[in-house]
Amino acid sequence: MSTVTRPEIRSSSRLPSKRTGAMARAPWILLAPFLALFILTFILPILVAVFSSFQKVTRLGLFGEQGTTSGFAWFANYSQALSDGNFIASIGRMFLFGIVQVPVMIVLATMLALLLESGAARWPGLFRAAYFLPYGVPGVIATILWSFLYIPGLSPLFDIAALVGLEPDFLGPNTVLWSIANIVTWSYTGYNMLIIVAQLKSIPVELYEAAKVDGAGPVRVALSIQLPLIKPALILTGVFSIIGTLQLFAEAQVLTTVAPSIDSQYTPNLSAYTTAFAYNDYNVAAAQAVLIALVAFALSFTFLTLSNRKSK
């Protein structure tokens, strides 16, 4: 830098430099309340959980009354979690659940959205609200409502089934998973539908007009224009649903009171909850929680990679 220009820069940039300092600080100051809460309630708990998942408590005596020590355990908690057949089974159960329930729900949501956005739909606003309404019912309440429809002796569904000679068992060991899937589908189809509707509304009218000019019918419009253009929304709802499936908790937890076949480790989250708060083994529970997060991450990542590859 030349000595000649220096004073010029100084004089011309003195004020602005002060202002840029303040401007650089401003976003941080404005973000501070958010960041503080974010770190305290999100980042820190994750760090604590990961830290805890590598700790192990050992005890002496019948209850540890002769001393308890806590130490670094490497992957002992992870191997204990992974060798727990019930925990692995719960993840497998959620895979099965997701493979069936997520596509059914997304297809249903897409069909509803396409129907509501088609020109022939009557009172689309009313139906949109009606389909979205179940999402406003909390999962626990939804499960209690449905559980009364699942209980033999109380539910009118059994009387109706008897008319056609069926004897359904909604809460049996092999059927209760699908009863939960039904509750989840009922709750979230409308929500996913709304995301897709929003994307449908952003499709330019010109495309529809061009399609009409070319003589495309409603089915052709749906397949060639709407579906390709709402793909981002479909991927988004897909990822949300995959993560939601792995985090299934409330529905299974509430149904245990009426379905003896739901055990304390029916879903991965239920398993971590039981390990932490019923068995008091926070360290293994932390390992389970980390594993659930890893599986959710891997699944979402795989899904995104696959759907991106297809589009090329």
Partner: protein, 448 residues
């Protein structure tokens, strides 16, 4: 340049705080209050005690105590029952150092709270002076390693609630119930002809199975000087498992739902469930069966032939003093008053509908009148008082009871796919030993 910028300071402070939090969060329940100094009784000033319990209207009971003890005020907070959320709340509060003075803890869960150093050893505060006021079987279930970790509050001596008309329709002589489990199975077979089940066998709640095995004489775990001793494959347990294996195979019991579930109430009201073998607290639940008034009676539960005991206990809870209590002496005083004084017991029955009194021979005035619902029977004196005197006193709980019951239930659920209860019990024993070892506790198999 020795000065720190504000951001560096802030950052440094944050990471220090984070580190402190990390170390504080390490693993809760590492230190014991029972090796520390005794906390003396409060001198003069007024003491406020908190009690977390799932009994309803318990504050009304506490108010009676508060009126008589101007220096102590007991405040009750309601928590969900046991593993439905109450324990989860207590464990978290203990980990956070914010537990109440007293917590309602089931007898079977006492050792689990000892394991996390959650309870005060009340023998250090003179609890043994009151031992003679309590049922020895129950007192044994709160006493471990020379300490006393809770004051028995209620229990559930078992008996059989039944609908006489339905049993008689299946051929039972008027006014009789099966005396042995073999008679019970024979009657169950006859009831199947009437399209009714005699009872449920809860595959999802193995604590009922444990109580029936206890009646047969089992004592699954025993604390010894060198660690825990397990024996779940004794004759008493295996015979019980074999018996119910056969009952389920022959479709003599309902396994689709458990007692007191919505489906059970519906079945009991329609007469397709004829009876239920359960704890004394079942009376209030059976009274909830629609149109059941005058149709039910109570009889002693069936026995295992010549061996075993006349009855068993199902359920039962304590008032335990939590480790973070600053007034254990006063908390003990309240717990003893509530569970042994006449006004305490009567108020617990009237307001909270509590289970069977832990004080021997005490029924409680509201329970001493004949019951209209149970066909005018004075079943408490006639059936349950004798039942409390025919108990297996050798039974002891252990520090992973809930997990053990879950392991057992997980095995029982496989009954539908062909795994026998007998096999499940043997597998569960192995798994429970693994759980003990994972917790760092020593355990060995009996005679091995």
């Amino acid at each position: 340049m020795a000065q720190f910028t504000r951001r560096q300071l802030l950052g440094g402070g944050m990471s220090a705080a984070a580190l402190a939090l990390l170390t504080a969060c390490a693993s809760p329940g590492m230190t014991s209050v029972n090796s520390g100094a005794l906390i003396p009784a409060a001198a003069g000033e007024k003491v406020t005690l908190t009690y977390w319990s799932w009994l309803k209207d318990l504050q009304k009971v506490a108010d009676i105590f508060n009126r008589a003890h101007p220096n102590i005020e007991v405040r009750v907070s309601w928590i969900p029952q046991g593993n439905a959320g109450g324990y989860q709340k207590l464990y978290s509060a203990l980990a956070a150092g914010a537990a109440p003075d007293l917590g309602q803890i089931e007898l079977r869960t006492i050792p689990e709270f000892i394991l996390v150093n959650g309870l005060v050893d009340l023998s250090r505060y003179g609890a043994n002076e009151f031992a003679h006021l309590f049922d020895p079987t129950l007192w044994n279930q709160v006493s471990y390693t020379g300490g006393v970790y809770g004051i028995p509050q209620d229990s559930g001596p078992m008996a059989m609630f039944y609908q006489p008309a339905i049993l008689e329709a299946a051929g039972a002589a008027a006014g009789t119930t099966p005396r042995t489990w073999d008679d019970w199975a024979a009657l169950a077979t006859a009831l199947r002809g009437q399209n009714a089940y005699i009872d449920c066998f809860p595959l999802a709640d193995s604590s009922v199975f444990a109580s029936l095995a206890t009646q047969a004489g089992a004592a699954w775990l025993r604390p010894e000087a060198d660690g825990w001793v397990i024996n779940m494959t004794d004759d008493a347990t295996l015979n019980t498992a074999r018996f119910f294996d056969a009952a389920i195979d022959e479709d003599l019991v309902e396994t689709g739902f458990g007692a007191y579930s919505p489906a059970w109430f519906s079945a009991a009201a329609s007469g397709s469930i004829a009876s239920v073998v359960t704890g004394s607290w079942g009376d209030a639940l059976v009274e909830g069966v629609g149109g059941g008034s005058g149709k039910w009676r109570v009889a002693p539960m069936p026995v295992w032939g010549e061996t075993g005991y006349g009855s068993s206990y199902l359920g039962g809870s304590t008032a335990a003093v939590m480790a973070s209590s600053r007034h254990p002496k006063e908390a003990l005083e309240f717990a003893v008053w509530m569970t042994t004084s006449k006004e305490g017991i009567d108020a617990l029955i009237e307001n909270s509908g509590i289970g069977w009194s832990a004080a021997p021979g005490v029924v409680g005035s509201p329970r001493e009148v004949p019951s209209e619902f149970f066909s005018g029977q004075s079943y408490n004196q006639d059936v349950f008082v004798p039942a409390t005197q025919q108990q297996n006193a050798d039974w002891s709980w252990w520090p992973v009871t809930q997990q053990s019951f879950n392991i057992l239930s997980d095995g029982f659920r496989k009954k539908a796919s062909g795994t026998s209860l007998v096999d499940s019990v043997a597998t569960a024993e192995q798994q429970i030993m693994t759980v003990f070892r994972n917790k760092g506790l020593s355990i060995r198999k009996e005679n091995a």
